[in-house]
């Protein structure tokens, strides 16, 4: 049957099984490939999106349960990659392979919502996403750079 979900402000009808993870709906049905598949078990965070403003690992959210939620992906974060976190990511030269970075940015964006200025410890606690290239310290620098902006 078809489900109706709201992604980046637009409503979509999706003809897929209700147990399909939101991750694969975004990628294969809606063509929003900025959200990445990493582990499929909610461990790595590469698939992080916002669901009703909170960070969610889209591999572990079913299509059925996503109906009625406001979903935001990296494509809807800032217009044309211009969110202050995306600018900070470029300024701090964070990305290496870059595969995990959209998930990292989505996790960071939820952390900085409502003008929060997290401490180092709060950043450490919130950022559990895996990066195999080892960009963690630059990610932290970019979050601090972005949070320092009003």
């Amino acid at each position: 049957m078809a489900y109706s979900i709201k992604v980046n402000g637009a409503q979509y009808d999706v003809d897929a099984d209700g147990d399909t993870p939101l991750l694969w709906v975004l990628r294969d049905n809606l063509g929003l490939t900025g959200t990445k598949y990493g582990c499929g078990i909610g461990q790595c965070g590469a698939c992080s999106v916002h669901a009703d403003g909170a960070v969610a690992r889209s591999c572990s959210v079913s299509l059925e349960s996503a109906t009625g939620m406001e979903i935001r992906t990296i494509e809807g974060l800032g217009s044309g990659g211009q969110h202050k976190l995306q600018a900070a990511w470029v300024a701090e030269d964070v990305s290496q392979c870059g595969y995990c970075q959209t998930g990292q940015i989505m996790a960071a964006a939820a952390l900085l919502a409502n003008g929060a200025k997290p401490t180092d410890a709060e950043i450490d606690a919130a950022m559990s996403n895996i990066c195999r290239c080892g960009t963690y310290n630059r990610i932290k620098a970019a979050i601090k750079r972005a949070s320092a902006q009003a």
Partner: protein, 714 residues
């Protein structure tokens, strides 16, 4: 010296969507594969890399190497732009095609061995310098002045008379000129871009989420599939009833192969769900009895026997009387998986006798030939489009992860993207082999090591991937990093044995250096402790023949505050190791709040890479390599049970996270021959960490990962 050819009239880059009418130069970069071996016979003058200057001033450089995070997509154009005196904001990169352009040589696409910048520096510098000279000549011709009176800067040629013209304006005129044979390159002091920290060209699209990785490829009319291999390495598929998968909505086809099967459908999830619904009957074969215990027993047996002699230097008998103390230790390292964040995938389209592949591959030039051979196609009918790689680390080499996509497209006659689940990726990889070493040192009364006896046991990667590199029972890919001991110890012996592991092996960032540095740099620390010497002092005493190593050691000691008291339950550990032409040291400073819990307080890294093209990338690579090695040192381990891998995902193949990391400072030393950057940061971290734990606690850990000894982050 690299020949540079004017190919402006041949329209090379048309396919890449680049405007024509400007200046196009071609150069021949040595076509080495990721092993460092020539892909095709050398044909001097055959071109594979192009620099184009368009009438609008855009400078386009073809990128032959894969961008997998190491920064070649920025460093290689920097080299051209430096000698060209280009406006950096007008430089862009297009990916080279794996297929020969206009009968030309396939690109030098092998990306591995920390080799890309080193291999390209001279040819790309020449191309840039010659292009600049031709633009200067075009200006001189236009203004009727001597070329020596014209200068170039930031994409503009100027003359003392006040006249100036942009590169774009001069490109057409330059395109009619014959390139000079050689042009002197800049002295280091004249460089404006190379050696300066430059942000990555791929940073914006990677932050925006628009960068296209292999897994993101979309081809019209494409299906998506997934692959399931026999859980036992070497097993085969006996029988498969496709019906349960075909009943899943969206599944269009089940394709059985010899040792695996694929389920293909309208998207990954239907394919995955279909695959999970199947009950394949496997012929598990003899390897089903293989286990970590069995492999460890083979290592232990080999450690007890004399191996093939790799190094036998000095005369240990002559100094026997001076040896007052023997130090003996046995070290072990486990199987490791690369665990690229992007799981294995490839997209293939077999149509009209031609095969097109889109994939995140480290070596498209080589794979083009291996695919052609495997599927009985002519190489000119196979093309590979290289995407961004979501990590490589040595995993994305070889035919293995391309084959399922090709088989799938062949079976269904449509383009198919085959995505491996994380579980398939982790259990059917090409692992860093297990390794063990038994080390014995003879130490004099004053604490000087006089003999060094290393018996190294490592299942051979080359025996599986490049058999010609095994000679006389020695796999050179296993012994690098142990065969040329940096320390001046008069009597040295290295033996090697390669028991069969019954497991698929491959390259893992820094390859043999990853274990050899742990063995050697841990053992030198043990010798220091036995001799009552400071670990830096002992290394200093033994590095007098290697001034670069000594400088790295001294710099690391200075920057880390080595020698100042670390405080109670705290310690520092150091390790120095050369790999891929660079010398790297890490100093780990840590606290041990509990008997087995650690908190990293600070990591100081020093890298002598001879010459720095982009220091911003070098810092990132050394720090990133350190984190990669730290993860392995703390947690990395693939166990073998019932002939297959036990760890299947990140819940059991654990990772270091942001919260575990301390501040990291990377210091760069220049002044020698250029070395590699992608890998040298990995090897010294495991021994530096183990040495720091010893310094803080007196506990010497000789087996990786440290978690096996109960060590974890506090």
């Amino acid at each position: 010296m690299t020949a540079v050819v004017n190919v402006s009239r041949r329209g090379f880059l048309k396919g890449a969507g680049v405007a024509t009418g400007g200046l196009v130069l071609g150069v021949s970069v040595p076509a080495l594969d990721a092993f460092g071996q020539q892909v095709a016979p050398a044909q001097p003058g055959r071109l594979n890399t192009f620099v184009q200057i368009d009438p609008d001033g855009t400078v386009t450089i073809t990128l032959t190497h894969a961008e997998m995070g190491q920064g070649v997509q920025t460093a290689l154009p920097m080299i051209v732009a430096e000698e060209l005196d280009a406006d950096w904001t007008k430089v862009k990169v297009v990916r080279a095609s794996a297929i020969p352009v206009d009968g030309m040589e396939p690109a030098a696409m092998g990306t591995g061995g920390s080799r890309s910048v080193r291999a390209n520096f001279e040819p790309l510098s020449q191309a840039g310098a010659i292009a600049r000279h031709m633009l200067l000549q075009a200006a001189a011709n236009r203004w009727a002045v001597p070329v020596g009176e014209c200068t170039a800067q930031d994409g503009v040629v100027s003359h003392g008379s006040g006249r100036s013209a942009s590169f774009g304006d001069l490109a057409r005129g330059a395109s009619y000129l014959t390139p000079p044979q050689t042009v002197p390159l800049k002295a280091p002091s004249q460089r404006r871009l190379v050696g300066k920290p430059v942000n990555r060209l791929d940073a914006p699209e990677k932050a925006a989420g628009t960068a296209v990785f292999g897994i993101d490829v979309k081809v019209p009319d494409m299906l998506v599939g997934t692959v399931v291999h026999c859980p036992v390495w070497g097993g085969t598929l006996k029988a498969l009833d496709p019906a349960p998968a075909m009943a899943v909505k969206g599944v269009t086809r089940v394709v059985p192969l010899e040792a695996s099967f694929m389920v293909i459908g309208t998207g990954y999830w239907p394919a995955h769900k279909g695959a999970q619904a199947l009950k394949p009957q496997w012929d598990l074969g003899d390897n089903a009895k293989n286990s970590s215990e069995k492999i460890d027993a083979a290592l232990e047996a080999a450690l007890k026997k004399t191996g093939a002699v790799v190094v036998d230097r000095g005369d240990a008998g002559s100094t026997a009387k001076l040896v007052k103390k023997k130090v003996t230790a046995t070290y072990k390292a486990p199987f490791l998986h690369q665990a690229t964040m992007e799981p294995m995938n490839a997209t293939a389209w077999w149509h009209d006798g031609k095969l097109e592949i889109w994939a995140p591959v480290q070596d498209a030039g080589r794979e083009r030939y291996s695919v052609a051979e495997a599927f009985n196609l002519r190489p000119e009918n196979v093309n590979i489009h290289v995407t961004y790689l979501g990590g490589g680390f040595g995993r994305r080499i070889g035919l293995g992860f391309l084959r399922p996509a090709v088989e799938a497209s062949k079976a269904v006659g449509r383009p198919v993207k085959v995505i491996w689940s994380r579980e398939e990726d982790m259990t059917h990889g090409m692992m860093r082999p297990v390794a063990a070493a038994r080390l014995i040192a003879g130490v004099s009364a004053d604490g000087t090591p006089l003999t060094w006896d290393n018996r190294l046991v490592v299942p051979s990667v080359s025996a599986q991937l490049a058999p010609s590199r095994v000679r006389g029972g020695v796999d050179e890919i296993s012994v690098h990093g142990a065969d040329e001991l940096q320390y001046a110890i008069p009597n040295q012996r290295l033996e090697y044995a390669m028991p069969d592991a019954g497991a698929p092996l491959g390259f893992w960032r820094s390859v043999p250096h990853s274990y050899n540095a742990f063995f050697i740099e841990s053992f030198i620390d043990e010798i220091a402790a036995a001799a009552g010497k400071d670990p830096v002092q002992l290394r200093r005493d033994l590095l007098f023949r290697n001034p670069r190593h000594l400088e790295v050691l001294e710099r690391a000691a200075k920057e880390s505050g080595w020698g100042t008291p670390p405080g109670a339950r705290r310690g520092r550990g150091i390790a120095v190791h050369e790999s891929f032409g660079s010398i790297c040291a890490h100093v780990v400073e840590l606290s041990m709040p509990g008997d087995t819990t650690i908190k990293l307080d600070r990591i100081t890294s020093v890298i002598d890479c001879g010459m720095a093209v982009n220091p911003r990338t070098i810092e990132a690579q050394i720090e990133g390599g350190m984190v990669f090695g730290l993860t392995a040192a703390m947690y990395g381990r693939i166990d073998v049970k019932d002939g297959g891998a036990v760890q299947k995902n990140f819940d059991t193949y654990r990772m270091v996270h942001m919260a575990h990391l301390p501040p990291v400072a990377v210091h760069i030393i220049e002044g020698g021959e250029m070395g590699g950057i992608g890998e040298p940061g990995v090897p010294p971290i495991a021994p530096a960490l183990a040495n720091a734990i010893f310094a803080a606690s007196g506990k010497r850990i000789r087996t990786l990962p440290l978690a096996d000894s109960g060590i974890d982050f506090a």
